[in-house]
């Protein structure tokens, strides 16, 4: 196979911090290279250098034998490098066709050559098995359909190397398989793919070669055929991973129930007569493809939304006043799915975030409302130590923390309150192996301490290994819970696609 891309001794510093340190690798024509690494290992920086967002401090990149011009995205696209980001960059109010061709024309051109474009797009869509309707509005599409458009967009611009950043993060197992079929089709036609992912099983299934980055350096390279799962996981983290072990505890009395809860508003996915029971010491897993109402359900369970119909009962008490605050006071903890936009105030310091839920607690303020800095600082230090939040100082701005540390801070903030009920929404999404293991361990510990947990996740492996019972959410409906030991990935995957609803 001929060489398509040659990366030589790339070094990129931010201040004194090496984001990439002397990284070299190659991509051949017609192969899938997987880039693995923890958050902050330098994967994204490296890809941003290839795609022309950043200029490295040293090193060179050759594409088809020609040196690429750094810091110039247009040049990268012209050479044939395409990138599909984890967060899509589509205009929701345009059609599929318009979205695909929008980048191919100068903004000063007055016409869009739609007819030729349509022919080319349909051809590509057939060739690579990327089914789409070119005239559908993007706003009406599902996540996997949007991803197909992103991929078509790069193919439309004749890309030879496609970079996929965490492409399976929001797909069902079946959709993931379809994506991998597409990737294999692309390889057959001589394209190359760089795949960034933290899901080891998937990487092992689809890639030809693997490189592992850690702390900005390349720490290993192996053919997928000869790779061993545990070895690679250790390579990524740099030490042995302590995988959490689940021990079942006897079920206690009911702490939360939803009775025929419906929600219908235009701005969020609706819920349709959802019934749910949660018992002390239970972990109830809710599977489902993103956008089927899980977020709405979580917001209702945490008091952020008021159901349009139905009833919520907490601790077998009568009716509850619906507000985040009153749910908090009843012992509900809520880990929101988007930890950066809903969880943490990035521009406030770590200590300020650490005490945010404690503003009514007279340990941290006096009756006049003056904040007691000493006890606040102590609490924040305790929290960071107890839950292993790695930081330089509690006076540091929170958004400089890595994803795993943000999540530990948020989870720790709730666990310090000894919550009766934890609503955890995608608690490990986008985290690396090591951080995933710590978060899962914390959740299991909370269960041991008597908390009941609702775990909403798209990661079936996680649901199967943590939860006692699993239910599936599809189009705002919830299936009857089944004991985890009596079900498997395949059944749940089919249910996620609507089977049995």
């Amino acid at each position: 196979m001929t060489r398509l891309l040659k990366v030589e001794k790339i070094t990129k510093k931010f201040g004194n911090f090496y984001a990439n340190n002397d990284i070299s690798f190659e991509v051949k024509k017609g192969e899938v290279l997987a880039v693995l690494g923890e958050n902050g290992a330098g994967k994204t920086t490296l890809m941003n250098i290839l795609f022309g967002h950043y200029t490295p401090d040293a090193g060179s990149v050759q594409f088809e034998g020609k040196a690429i011009e750094f810091g110039n995205t247009n040049n990268a696209i012209k050479l044939g490098i395409g990138m599909v980001h984890q967060h899509f960059t589509l205009a929701e109010n345009l059609t599929v066709l318009e979205n695909i061709i929008i980048g191919s024309r100068s903004i000063f051109s007055l016409s869009l050559p739609k007819r030729q474009a349509r022919i080319k797009i349909l051809e590509l869509s057939k060739k690579f098995g990327l089914l789409i309707d070119p005239d559908e509005l993007v706003a009406n599409l599902s996540v996997s359909e949007k991803q197909r458009i992103e991929i078509l967009k790069t193919l439309f611009l004749d890309c030879k190397l496609l970079i996929l950043d965490e492409p399976t993060a929001a797909l069902t197992p079946q959709e993931t398989d379809a994506l991998f079929a597409t990737i294999r089709n692309m390889i057959k036609s001589g394209l190359s793919v760089i795949l960034i992912s933290h899901k080891l099983n998937e990487i092992l299934a689809v890639s030809d070669r693997i490189i592992v980055l850690r702390n900005g350096s390349s720490v290993g390279e192996t053919d997928t055929n000869s790779a061993v799962r545990e070895k690679i996981a250790e390579m990524i983290v740099g030490k042995k991973i302590d995988y959490p072990k689940k021990t079942k505890i006897p079920r206690k009395s009911r702490v939360l129930s939803l009775l025929d809860v419906s929600y219908s508003e235009t701005d969020v996915p609706s819920l349709n007569a959802v019934n749910l029971n949660l018992y002390g010491g239970q972990i109830l897993g809710i599977a489902g493809v993103a956008g089927n109402g899980q977020t709405t359900l979580a917001k209702i369970l945490s008091g952020h939304l008021k159901p349009t119909q139905g009833k919520i009962v907490i601790n077998e008490a009568g009716s509850v006043y619906i507000s985040p605050k009153s749910f908090m006071n009843l012992g509900v903890a809520y880990i929101p799915e988007d930890r950066n936009s809903d969880g943490i105030v990035g521009d406030m310091e770590i200590w300020e975030n650490a005490i945010m839920t404690e503003m009514d607690n007279l340990c941290f303020r006096n009756r006049l409302g003056i904040i007691n800095k000493r006890t606040s600082f102590d609490r924040s230090k305790d929290l960071c130590a107890a839950y292993d939040v790695r930081m330089q100082s509690i006076r540091q701005r929170s958004r400089l923390l890595s994803g795993g540390n943000v999540q530990k801070l948020l989870l720790g903030r709730w666990l310090m309150r000894k919550p009766k009920i934890i609503i955890a929404c995608q608690p490990t999404r986008g985290l690396d192996e090591g951080a995933i293991a710590s978060i899962q361990k914390l959740l299991l510990e909370a269960q041991q301490n008597g908390s009941a947990i609702i775990l909403i996740s798209e990661d079936l492996d996680e649901l199967l290994s943590l939860s006692d019972d699993i239910t599936v959410m599809y189009k705002g409906m919830l299936s009857d819970p089944i004991e985890t030991t009596t079900t498997n990935k395949l059944t749940i995957g089919l249910q996620m696609a609507g089977d049995g609803f």
Binding site: F14, G15, T55, A67, E69, F70, G71, S302, H304, S323, P324, K325, M328, Y334, P336, S341, D342, G343, I344, V345, G346, D347, M348, E352, M356, T357, M359, R365, L368, G369, I370, I371, R397, L400, R413
Partner: protein, 358 residues
């Protein structure tokens, strides 16, 4: 070709935070100097007259500080609101509403000894300003009506209301036909703090309020809530911070500060309500808050700075025969330069050259 790129600083050095606004002001003064040359005057002489006009005598200092009083208060109004990302552009209207309250209560309806009358008028003015803002906050919270539009437009409604009242029912019969309100009773008039000048107690009160607001924002739960709601209201609400209540408090505080600016002007400077009570003090407050980077203590200095330019520009204009509009130009340039300087405070600028291979 020389290229550059911005890189965010992990922590901005303190000296830079302090020094950058001064550099910005110097740049603005140089830029305005070019305009003065275009207007056919010597910029050095002009600035000399500007400084003398603002600080050259006891009377001019008093005049500058008296002018700064309402601007500091409206600057505080903007600082509080903008910190919570509540875009209150309506300080002008709230100022006039405070002035209406002063006229309503202060011209004989209520008579108290001076030590009670003055606080009473300030409270009424603050309530009036806050109450004017209240329905707009509720519209925003319940129906997501954009507050920039509502607060701005209400300014014109209030000014027209004042005009109606002063031309009609509230017109002072002793005013020889001028559209002005009745005089505030003697017990309510703010005493002079510098004899034989127009500098009144309102200035001291505005400084006191700036420090109080600083304390509230910096040290208390309310300030903490305002900060978190402003920086990330979604995260704040997920941590149990009541968004509704916090924004309500912000609006009352912000409207209250602007309302008190109406009190200082009516009961302090003029003694009665007129149609030209505020030559845009409400809007100047936005510039003051921006110059101070929303810091309440900084508002004192930026308020005095703005006032000195307006007061000084009058004497510069007389002496050098240049238009007084230059004051507005200098203020506008300063705000622009300070906003630009914030980029330098928060980001490092890295220059690098690129070689062309072909």
């Amino acid at each position: 070709m020389l290229k550059f790129r911005l890189e965010e600083r992990a922590k901005s050095p303190y000296w830079l935070i302090i020094v950058s606004p001064f550099i910005a002001i110097i740049v603005a003064i140089i830029l305005a100097g070019i305009l003065i040359i275009l207007a056919g005057a010597n910029p050095f002489n002009s600035y000399y007259h500007l400084i003398i006009g603002a600080f050259g005598s006891k009377n001019s200092v008093a005049e500058t500080l008296a002018r700064a009083t309402p601007i500091i208060l409206t600057g505080l109004a903007a600082s509080i609101a903008f910190r919570a990302k509540f875009w209150n552009i309506g300080a002008e209207g709230q100022l006039y509403f405070g002035a209406l309250a002063t006229t309503f209560f202060g011209t004989g309806l209520v008579v108290l000894p001076s030590t009670l009358m003055i606080p009473f008028l300030f409270i009424m003015g603050a309530l009036a300003g806050g109450l004017l803002l209240l329905p707009l906050v509720l519209l925003k919270l319940y129906y997501k009506v954009d507050e920039v539009v509502t607060t701005l437009l209400l300014n014109f409604v209030v000014v027209l209301l004042v005009s109606y009242l002063l031309e009609g029912p509230w017109k002072d019969p002793m005013s020889l036909g001028w559209p002005q309100g009745k005089s505030v009773i003697d017990e309510g008039v703010l005493p002079q703090v510098l004899s034989k000048t127009r500098l009144h107690l309102g200035f001291i009160i505005s400084i006191f309020l700036a420090f109080s607001i600083w304390f509230v924002l910096k040290k208390t739960v309310i300030g903490y809530r305002i900060k978190s709601v402003g920086l990330n209201s979604a995260a704040a609400s997920h941590a149990g911070i009541p968004i509704f209540k916090t924004v309500l408090v912000v609006a009352i505080l912000s409207g209250g500060m602007a309302g008190m600016a109406g009190v200082t002007e009516t009961a302090g400077l003029k003694g009665y309500l007129t149609l030209d009570l505020s030559p845009g003090f409400g809007y100047a407050g936005i510039a003051v808050a921006m110059l101070a980077n929303l810091n309440p203590i900084g508002v004192i200095f930026s308020g005095i700075f703005l006032a000195s330019i307006y007061v000084g520009a009058d004497s510069m204009s007389r002496a050098m025969n240049v238009p007084t509009y230059l004051a507005d130009v200098i203020v506008a340039l300063t705000v622009l330069c300070v906003l630009l300087s914030l980029i330098f405070v928060h980001y490092k600028i890295l220059f690098f050259g690129t070689k062309k291979d072909d």
